[in-house]
């Protein structure tokens, strides 16, 4: 299928473009960008007037729950949610059942995504076998099988010696290590951020220093062995400061944050709202301010969702019993666009954090609309008003803290490999 995406505001940081232009897609590739282009033979024309046309958005941190936990989400429903949120690629975390610690599981995911999925799926393998934290996973074979990074996401690697070796070994193979940075002894039995709200609600707190210490450890280990490290879902003021300092002295550290960490504080937990329970937990106003400052000054490289679907039965319980995590694929775009409205980021900077940078860090060969690139394109309607409801969400799970709230901005059309896979909610 050939496409002419006409009259949109094309924002492509990889070429320094921000202008009203047409995009021609032929045979799955971007053929040309320019003014008043003619539709190629047999092309479908998409009117993008008043919309943004950007390199396909990439979410480098999602949980697709497939294989093993398909009652929460699977590759089909997860990628359907992704394209509805404007994403053309997602990187899925390895805490499936079994974990993505071998070629068979990685291949299963890649193949299923190719045959049944709506967007590109790049698996993240484990750092340790079975995510048990005692032996390195076969990172070489994982990379050959198509894994784009390794992580024991959800289960920090406790043993510092093992983490040091993981960083060294992964550097040799040339695969990125993504750390879920939390010091587990400090997390303890905590169920929310430790602060005034936890005091008032009588819930056990998780201190911010649990994340700060782990972030510092990862940076010191990476610096010591000369390897790179990516810190997942940064939520604290302290982590932002530590990463900023490390970057300034040349440590190869990168990081991501999630929309909930720059949108919500732990006040959202009031009423014992289990859809505001995640790990790391929602923090306080000064953390939100620090995350925003980190996004602005480039300390925070990427915005990823940590899309973590859970079944109603796992959330509709007492607060302590509820599972950690929220769905995020379909709310990320409107929440992130707010950063542009607030003047914190330019549109171009936002596209960098949601497309170019994740592609560059993970070597996905995407994040650009240069002629000859794979035609992964997100057309965004920045004015679209919609309400987050269970029915509106394409994900199998509905565990969103924004249920019932109205959003501004949505994917108008999502193109993966030159094919329209979503055309508006």
């Amino acid at each position: 299928m050939n496409l002419l995406i006409k009259g949109g505001r094309v924002i492509d940081p990889s070429q320094g473009i921000d202008d009203t232009l047409d995009v021609v897609v032929e045979n799955g590739l971007v053929k040309e960008i320019g003014k008043d282009l003619a539709a190629p033979a047999g092309a479908e024309t998409i009117d993008a007037t008043g919309k943004y046309v950007v390199p396909g958005l990439i979410d480098m941190h999602v949980h697709l729950r497939d294989p093993g936990l398909e009652y929460k989400e699977d590759i089909i429903s997860g990628t359907r949610a992704a394209v509805a949120g404007g994403f053309t690629s997602v990187c899925c975390m390895p805490n499936t059942k079994p974990a993505i610690d071998n070629k068979a599981i990685a291949s299963y995911i890649i193949n299923k995504a190719k045959t049944d999925g709506f967007c590109n799926v790049f698996p993240v393998g484990t750092i340790t076998q079975g995510m048990h934290g005692d032996r390195l996973a076969e990172m070489g074979e994982l990379k050959e099988s198509g894994c784009v990074a390794v992580s024991d996401d959800g289960k920090p690697v406790k043993n510092s010696e093992l983490m040091r070796r993981a960083l060294q070994y992964a550097a040799g193979i040339g695969i990125m290590v993504i750390s879920h940075a939390e010091e587990l002894e400090l997390v303890g039995e905590g169920v929310m951020n430790e602060g005034f709200t936890s005091t008032e609600l009588g819930l056990k707190g998780i201190p911010r220093v649990a994340e700060d210490i782990a972030t510092a450890r990862e940076i010191m280990l990476a610096e010591y062995v000369g390897a790179s490290i990516h810190i997942a879902h940064v939520s604290t003021k302290g982590s932002v400061r530590i990463i900023r300092e490390a970057k300034a002295r040349g440590v190869k550290v990168t990081c991501e944050t999630a929309p909930h960490y720059f949108t919500l504080t732990d006040d959202a937990v009031r009423g014992y709202n289990t859809n505001a329970k995640m790990n790391p937990p929602l923090r306080e106003a000064d953390d939100v301010a620090a995350i925003k400052a980190g996004l602005k000054d480039g300390t925070i490289d990427c915005i990823a969702t940590d899309h973590a679907p859970h079944h109603l039965d796992e959330k509709d319980v007492e607060f302590n019993e509820a599972m950690n995590g929220i769905v995020g694929l379909e709310t990320s775009l409107p929440l992130s666009l707010k950063l542009v409205d607030e003047g914190l980021l330019t549109l171009s900077q936002l596209v960098e954090k949601m497309s170019c940078k994740p592609s560059e860090l993970l070597g996905l060969g995407r994040g650009s609309l240069k002629a000859g690139s794979v035609a992964d394109i997100s057309v965004i309607d920045p004015q679209k008003q919609w309400t987050v409801t269970e029915a509106a969400l394409a994900s199998k799970s509905k565990n969103s803290p924004w249920l019932g709230e109205s959003m501004t901005g949505a994917a108008a059309c999502t193109v993966v490999g030159g094919k329209v896979v979503f055309s508006g909610r």
């Binding site: 430790e194 602060g195 005034f196 936890s198 005091t199 008032e200 609600l201 009588g202 819930l203 056990k204 707190g205 009423g271 014992y272 509709d316 319980v317 007492e318 607060f319 302590n320 019993e321």
Partner: protein
Amino acid sequence: MEFKHKDIIALRDLSKAEIELLISTAENMREVNSRDIKKVPTLRGKTIINLFYESSTRTRTSFEIAGKRLSADTVNIAPSNSSATKGETLADTALNLLAMKPDIIVMRHAVSGSHYFLSKKVGCSIINAGDGAHEHPSQGLLDMLTIKDKFGRLDGLKVAMVGDITHSRVARSDIQGLTKMGSSIYLAGPPTMMPPGVERLGNVTVCGTMKEAIQDADVVIMLRIQQERQGKTLMPNTREYSRYFGLNPENLKLAKPDAMVMHPGPINRGVEMSSYVVDGNQSHILKQVENGVAVRMSMLYHVCGGGSVE
């Protein structure tokens, strides 16, 4: 004034006037408790389920007696475990109980906020008999009634509270209630047991030492120190705890001469309080227990919509 709440889950949710109403009704209920035949027909035909996921002698018995004195039918259930991961979920247990049409469920549960969760699931009234480290509203009310008995008022008093504030639901209910009534709270305890931001709960001052907290206090409330909750990291041992945070006849002299001493029980004699103080003439501990029945009668009465007490 009418009491408009279906549930009583936290004193944080109640206004000053509502707290005053619950206390004044409790004062009236004491007349029933002093009769030869301690029973009125007010809640006849009402069914109350006492659902206790955590062990309790005092509170459960007190709620049971309170219900019986008002002629309600009371049933006690103590599920052997509280975890949703084992067996039936809390919601399912509640829905099954609800099918038997109780009017009130009185619940104690280890998870903070579980009563709010339950309240969304069931239509009957919910009374909180203690949830995790959140609140214990009947204890807060009975503490206030006991203080009012002594001073005739609940405003302008200096109330010292000593112990593990972090894990104490009694502390949170006392702080919510007493500061709403106009008293000041002075907290003392090891810094490891002082929750962050506790000063923002009301008129609360965190003191560096126990001495500072009890100096010229009108009321001294001692909290139970629980080895099982404090684990190994919050204090060296009970010996050292007692040395710095135990109440004894010597340091009690720092408080006002007529200061009252209270404790929610059960007491660790010789740890947070010396027996000389527990059994001394400034102790109001048994008076608290006595008031507990009247306060719980008042709570049951109001969530059932009030009406006449004969």
